[in-house]
Amino acid sequence: MLVAAEGVEHHPLVPLWQELVIGTIAFALLCFVLLKFVMPRMEAMYQARVDAIEGGLKRAEAAQAEANQLLEQYRAQLAEVRTEAAQIRDDARADAESIRTEILAKAREESDRIIAAGRDSLAVERQTIVRELRAEVGGLAVDLASRIVGESLADEARRKGTVERFLTDLESAGAR
């Protein structure tokens, strides 16, 4: 054994002082280099990433909120349009109803008017006919009577009065 040949016995809990020195220097160098050149950048990168992620999340949240707001808006608009359409339909229905009743009323009125007019003209016609008939019947009767009697009634006025009287008698007899 080479170690045994050196004739040094070691105790595991007693450090070699050269190793203490080397360990200190080496670790100090490692700390110096990494703490100066690497770790600050690592923490900065860490923060930058946290910011980036949080910023991204915030942006996504904002976009989401905006989308939700738009959706709400569209929904509200849609509802509004729907109620408006329903309103218009109701109005149209009411209008149609009123127009129908109006037209019906007008038509009824018109028909009533036409009937009334017909009745009036009929009455007038009848009166005219009655009057004409009366004159004709009078003349005919007089003619007939004069022919039968064979004598002409010279006095126009008297003749007229006789006919009138006769007709009135006729009427009153008919009415009775």
Partner: protein, 259 residues
């Protein structure tokens, strides 16, 4: 060690403390251990400088690896143990953590196969830094007197108890903490290497036997050696984590306002 049995091929058996003290490469300043320390320092500087030469917001693979180490130490150790104050210590803890991990892992790297931390000198250096750091941080934050009073006197205890408690607390702060910190790391690495020696050299010793059955049983020794090597990876990472976590805890307790 005249009492040692030298088995086949001149392997020393059983393994002893002297197996940890290898012949110097060139004098007491250039040993395998000191070279490994420089190697670890060089590797870490190259790794971090290379991966962080041109950092980007969307990291490359190397940058991501470096940041994972930093993120682990920053969030899971520094902030966990010390709260928001811990973040300014995270860079140092990251250096400490990666240095311990690399030097511990040397214990199972072929060709090196021993951790520098199995010599207590290196854990002592690291523990001393933590020790000085927590005293300094405490004294600077509270003033030396108030820091001592705060760390030695437990509030809400009947006064005769202080006769007992103050020496205990004093020992705790000025001796137990740094010593356990150094010894824990050293002992884990020392024991780990010893276990690997026992199973590996033991396997060869069994193999050198004249009896065929004893030779065959060496396979179990080698399987154990391989399993223990994997176990050592776990121990290497765990001990680095424990060392840094306890350092953070001690520094954090110095910063804390109450005991």
């Amino acid at each position: 060690m005249s009492g040692r049995l030298v088995a086949a091929e001149g392997l020393p058996w059983p393994p002893s403390v002297e197996d940890f003290y290898l012949p110097d490469v060139a004098g007491p300043w250039v040993t395998k251990f000191s070279l490994m320390i420089w190697l670890a320092v060089g590797l870490l500087i190259i790794f971090f400088m290379a991966t962080y030469r041109n950092p980007k917001l969307v990291p490359s693979k190397g940058q991501w690896m470096a940041e994972s180490v930093y993120g682990l130490v920053r969030d899971n150790i520094a902030r966990e143990q010390m709260g928001k104050d811990g973040i300014r210590f995270a860079p140092y803890f990251t250096v400490l953590f990666s240095f311990i991990v690399v030097t511990n892992l040397f214990g199972i790297v072929p060709g090196l196969q021993i951790s520098p931390n199995s010599h207590i000198a290196f854990p002592i250096v690291l523990a001393l830094i933590t020790f000085v750091m927590y005293l300094y941080v405490g004294a600077r934050k509270h003033g030396l007197g108030r820091y001592l009073k705060q760390s030695l006197i437990i509030p809400g205890v009947p006064w005769p108890m202080h006769i007992l408690l103050i020496p205990i607390e004093f020992l705790q702060v000025f001796a137990v903490r740094p010593v356990t910190l150094a010894v824990r790391l050293f002992a884990n690495m020392f024991a780990g290497h010893l276990i690997l020696l026992v199973f590996t050299i033991g396997g060869f010793v069994l193999l050198a036997s004249d009896n065929i059955f004893i030779q065959a049983s060496s396979i179990f020794a080698f399987i154990m050696a391989i399993m223990m090597a994997f176990f050592e990876v776990l121990v290497a990472l765990l001990q680095a984590y424990v060392f840094v976590t306890l350092s953070a805890n001690y520094i954090g307790s110095s910063l804390a306002t109450e005991h």
